[in-house]
Symmetry: C2
Subunit: 130 residues, 2 copies
């Protein structure tokens, strides 16, 4: 079914505070994450909040990547959603976790566009390989 | 915890094919959905694909709304993510489902930024009230 998508939800904790507040850095990481996964970048929109925090999205031909960062908590809320069977959203999600210096991450994959929503992987809180 | 977020995943089927292919219409619906829920719009980025389909995002102060539409299948893949305890993402998601003429919808809510990821509501395939 060509509505088939893979949606990775990635909760990153213990990230580098300065990186989480650096919009230019995050934008670059997200574009690179998309390219690394083999996606085609279509639109890029990021926003820097006062006093801190960054929200942004990269729209790719195969869906999107988003971030909301909370530097004061070392927390970043990541979504990587890719359509089709070829691109693996986990490639982008892992790259982002590493670039933001996440100490712990929780990653869940949810199939989209295929009928009933269910979680594909058990949730787990794991130390990110550093 | 002020990283607290509510992420609604909404799978819409049986939508109006023409609406799903009308980028200007979808953009308007999404901005209105954000405002209707009481959110503050920060960035808007939409993309029209050839031969069909629309992807887009509205970044709000409280996180984001996204869509990927597949007119050929009457399917739209919607995410509404809001941070904080005040705004209800379901208000925006319901408005979008109605505006796109969805015949069936499946909606799941996932808490974000609060530790282990779990689905807050049972998934259900229900007829949208028309």
């Amino acid at each position: 079914m060509d509505t088939m998508g893979r949606h990775v939800i990635s909760e990153l904790w213990g990230c580098d505070t300065e990186k989480l507040n650096n919009m230019e850095f995050i934008e670059k990481v997200f574009v690179n994450a998309a390219l690394k996964a083999g996606a085609e970048v279509r639109e890029v929109a990021f926003h820097k909040f006062a006093p801190q925090g960054v929200s942004g999205v990269v729209i790719i031909s195969e869906s999107h990547l988003t971030i909301h960062s909370f530097p004061e908590h070392g927390y970043a809320s990541i979504d990587v959603y890719t359509c089709g069977p070829i691109i693996d959203p986990n490639v982008a999600a892992s790259f982002i976790a590493e670039e933001l210096g996440a100490k712990t991450s929780e990653v869940v994959e949810i199939p989209r566009g295929m009928g009933p929503i269910k979680m594909d992987k058990k949730m787990e809180m794991s130390e990110t390989a550093r």
